[in-house]
Structures are given as structure tokens and as C-alpha cells.
Subunit: 308 residues, 2 copies
């Protein structure tokens, strides 16, 4: 699974109901990482770990269940910006990560250690141990992704998405072989520009995905002209695309074999097929874990497991 | 006021009832500072700031009122040592300090900024911007002060107290002139080995105190053979002293003019006078803020304010 944040997490919640978690490899976007209060925060990695570890807040979609925000409130009293909502329990993860990184651990090693401690049985790794950053270019200048999304509520028109550092980045250890050995390479319903996009912007990962022809399945993150979650439809329009699953499929051309299209968008199927993809129609809205598991079954069933 | 941690804080709580807080200068021990979870923690500075800012927990004697420990619990789940009880609100202070120090701020500047943000009107500064550390030498080897006191509950016999780095340290900006201009230089009822001791181990501070003959008042931290708080009596015995106010007075010889002795120890008065000090008898146990204010009055009244 090439995982961004919340969309990927919801899908993973269903996937582990349909397959042995120990067989999962999850390669996670780290271009959204940022520094808050001097702490290295890796939002997508943490969302995946909290989800698989059973620690995620089921309602908010980010952060930990039964979370409190006392430290953040006290930071606010000190005049620190508090728009990035770091919870007290969540802080423990950031403190652990930051302290280990400062001691010279790689992001891979930190992620593996956190996964083990949180009881995650899947193999979870950051896409790279290098620093890759998503910059959102707007009329107000260049914003970090968290500043654009959380700080300013994604209200700025997007002129360009820059994935800085991706071209020179090498995949984290094990990532290329995980892709090479996977039964299915899954693109969950995530933002192709800022979630799966940074992962695929790393040349060796893109090449590894290209080489897996016939085993690659994407789920449309757009249903009936709107992003399932987040600012994707506005980003697409800002960059001259239509907010349509067809435009997402176009971005994945050559990288995806099967495109799971929401039944509400069945009219778009011929245009998706034009990119050389098979189309599978499904209800892609994951209202609950059961719906997510149903979608996972569809994805897993869309690729022939006997294929050599 | 030459301030260690809890004993000094209790005294300060009384002192601000008897004098305008804006006239107070507090020079704080930083030899107890330590690093937890990658954060720079300055326990005595924080105890003083929380006390003067009205944020201190009135019962525990350390940390903040209405405190919670969710982050610490989560750090424990991650396998991190949790014997140093960092609260969620307290974490904000450590995050603020650590981030600023990393940006190149001095401890003085951080302390001044925290004091302003916490509404502290007194002038509060660390004794030095240099790194000075208290090491407690025991049969188990050299322990950091926090490890000795909090981690191991002060149960190890103390062979030697080392104040590393003090001899080369210069006072923080303003400290020497604050001592030179003070109406009264106060030694609160603190451990003379590890609380006021490190402050006085900085040569320029010791010299500044020496120069204020006639205006220096100490309060005995030992009453009826026991430390008012903490392991002082055991430390004194381990180092060959008696656990008596006389032995504290001996450590302050040449630095103190008036020694406030608890009425329960009045028999020791002649031996204290032998060090060239005047003795004032008082009830030194600060059961509440009223008792602390009474003790503060005694201290302030023990030096002639008209003295040139």
C-alpha cells in the first residue's frame, strides 16, 4: 500500500479485516512532515501507525483516541501557535521520534521501533530516509503542506505543488523489494498530488511501480466531483484539472492497471479505460469499517492472484 | 534571593506578601538541569517561575497546578523511563525552552521570556548561562542530581558532591549587579550543598556576596536535626557533617551575617554566633503562605534598611 494520511488509513482499517496484517507492506508519504515546537512530526506515518495499532481516534480521523490537549493549551498560553493540534499522547510519539533522529537514527528505524512498540504487525516504512518536502505555491507565496492544509484551511488557490528533494531521494531500505514482491500494489483513495504523488516522485519507487504491470490497483479519491476528504478537488481545479476521477486516472497513467471507480461516476468509465486501465465499479465511500472491508475485498479481487 | 527549588519557592510565596514583587531579584540554581525525552528541563527555574506566576501545585511542591500526565503515560507505553514526572502543561515550558536554546537563545533570555509570559513581575535569572552540573558521587558511581534525588529516591550514601563547570562559569548578565544593589541578600531555607551551593560555587557570584557584608541573611534549612524537605540531613551525614543548623552555618561562614535559626534549635545559637553571625530565632516551618510571610518579615527585619 502506498499510503498518504487519512484516506489510506481508512482503507487500511478495512484491508486488515480481509487479509493477514503481517502480509501488509505500507510505504508512507513523509513529504508532509514538519516541525512543531522543535519536534519532528510525521503526520502520515503516525496516522498509519495509530490506525494499525488500534490507537486512532475513530471520529476525528487524525490523532489518538481518548486524546487530551493540555500541553497544547499551555503552549498557547506561552504565545506559541497552536493551529497544529498536537495531543498530549501524540506528543509522546513526536518526542520519541525527535530524540532518536537527533541521536542519528534514520526515519526508517524510528518508524520500525514505533510500529513494534504500538503493536503494529504490518511492515510500515517511510518512503525515504531523505528529506522530501511538499511546498504549496500560492499567491501568498510558498507554504508548507501543513501550513496550507491545517494552518490556513486549504483556502489559498494552488498555483503549483512542489515536491522538493524527491528527485535526489532514494527509497528507504526494503521499499523497492516490498513493491517488487507484492501480490498487489495498492493506491488507496488518497490525494494523487500530495499523498501518493510524493511517493511516486522518488525515481526508484516510480520505476519499481512501473515494473509491476498487471498488479496495480488504484481507488478513486473523487466521488461525484468532490474529494472524499480534504482539498483535492480545489487543488485539481487550481492546477487546471477537472475535479473528476478521470483527471486522477490521468495522473496515474502507466502506473495503474485497475481503477476502482465509484458507482456514482460510472459514466466516466470509458474515459478512464482510455488510459489503458481496467475499470471496476464499487461503492468507494468508507462510512465505516465494514464498508472499508468491502472496498478492500473489491481491490484484492480485482487482480488475479495466480498471475505469475 | 539565591534560590534553589522547593524550599526557596515556599519562602518566595511568603516574601511576595511582604514586599513588592517587582523589587525582587531571584538568582536560580541551574546545576540540577537535566535532559528528559530530548528536552532541556530546568527544575529550579521552573519551580520559581510557577510559584511567582501563581501556577505552582500547592500540594505536591513541584510542577503545575491542575496538572495531568497523559504524555508521560504514553511515553511509558513506548518504553521510555518515566521516573521524572513531567506533566502535560509542564511539557510546554520544556518544549519552549528547548526550542529556543536550539535556536541560540541563552538560558537568561529563555528565563526572561518565560517569566514575562507567565506574568512573573520579579526579575528572575539563572545563575549562569554556562553549563554547570551537580554530580552526586556514590558507591554506585556518579549520578546526575535528578537521577540521585528523583530516580533513586536519594537512597544512596553520598561520598562527594561535585559542581562541575562552576569554577569556569561567569554569572548570567545582571546577576552580579543585582547582588550589589540588593537591600538584603537572602539565602532561603535550601540545601547548602546542592541548591545555594552551586550558585555560590561560581567565583564572581561568591565574590559579589562576600562584598555585601552586613546585608546577608540565611534561613536554616534544618530543624531539630532533620531537613525541612529533601535529603539534606542524609547528605550532610554522608559527607561527615552533623545534620545540624550549625553545620549549615559553617558552610556559610564569611558569606552570611544573620542566621535565622528555628526556635526548636535555640540551644545551637552560641555555636552559630561563633561563625561571626547574628542569630535570630523564629518559627521557620512554612506550613502555609501565612507562615511563610511571617518568616519573610523576620528575614527582612533582620537587616537594617538604613544601613549605607
Amino acid at each position: 500500500v502506498l499510503a498518504g494520511g487519512v484516506g489510506a488509513a481508512r482503507f487500511l482499517r478495512g484491508l486488515i479485516r480481509r487479509t493477514d496484517e503481517r502480509r501488509l507492506s505500507v510505504v508512507v508519504n513523509t513529504a508532509d512532515d514538519d516541525v512543531f515546537f522543535g519536534l519532528h512530526v510525521s503526520p502520515d506515518v503516525d496516522t498509519v501507525l495509530y490506525t494499525l495499532g488500534g490507537l486512532a481516534d475513530p471520529v476525528r480521523g487524525w490523532g489518538r483516541r481518548d486524546e487530551t490537549f493540555a500541553a497544547l493549551g499551555a503552549l498557547g498560553t506561552l504565545g506559541e501557535p497552536t493551529w497544529f493540534r498536537v495531543g498530549d499522547r501524540d506528543l509522546a510519539t513526536h518526542l520519541f521520534r525527535t530524540e532518536r533522529l537527533r541521536r542519528g537514527w534514520t526515519p526508517s528505524r524510528v518508524t520500525a521501533a514505533l510500529a513494534a512498540r504500538y503493536g503494529v504487525r504490518a511492515w510500515v516504512r517511510p518512503m525515504t530516509d531523505a528529506t522530501v518536502r511538499t511546498w504549496i505555491h500560492t499567491r501568498r507565496g510558498r507554504l508548507s503542506f501543513q501550513d496550507y492544509l491545517v494552518g490556513r484551511g486549504a483556502r489559498d488557490a494552488v498555483r503549483r505543488v512542489e515536491i522538493a528533494g524527491a528527485r535526489r531521494a532514494t527509497p528507504a531500505p526494503g521499499v523497492v523489494s516490498a513493491i517488487a514482491r507484492a501480490d498487489v500494489v495498492i493506491f488507496p483513495p488518497s490525494n494523487p498530488l500530495v499523498s501518493t504523488g510524493p511517493i511516486l516522485a522518488i525515481p526508484a519507487i516510480r520505476a519499481a511501480v512501473r515494473a509491476r504491470r498487471g498488479r496495480r490497483v488504484a481507488v478513486a479519491p473523487i466521488v461525484a466531483g468532490r474529494a472524499v476528504r480534504g482539498p483535492l478537488h480545489r487543488m485539481l481545479r487550481g492546477l487546471g484539472h477537472a475535479a473528476s476521477p478521470v483527471d486522477v486516472a490521468r495522473l496515474y497513467a502507466g502506473l495503474v492497471d485497475v481503477f476502482v471507480l465509484d458507482v456514482r461516476d460510472r459514466a466516466a468509465a470509458p474515459r478512464v479505460r482510455a488510459f489503458g486501465m481496467d475499470v471496476v465499479l464499487a461503492d468507494t465511500l468508507m462510512h465505516d469499517a465494514t464498508a472499508a472491508a468491502r472496498l478492500a475485498s473489491t481491490v484484492l479481487g480485482s487482480v488475479d492472484p495466480q498471475r505469475p
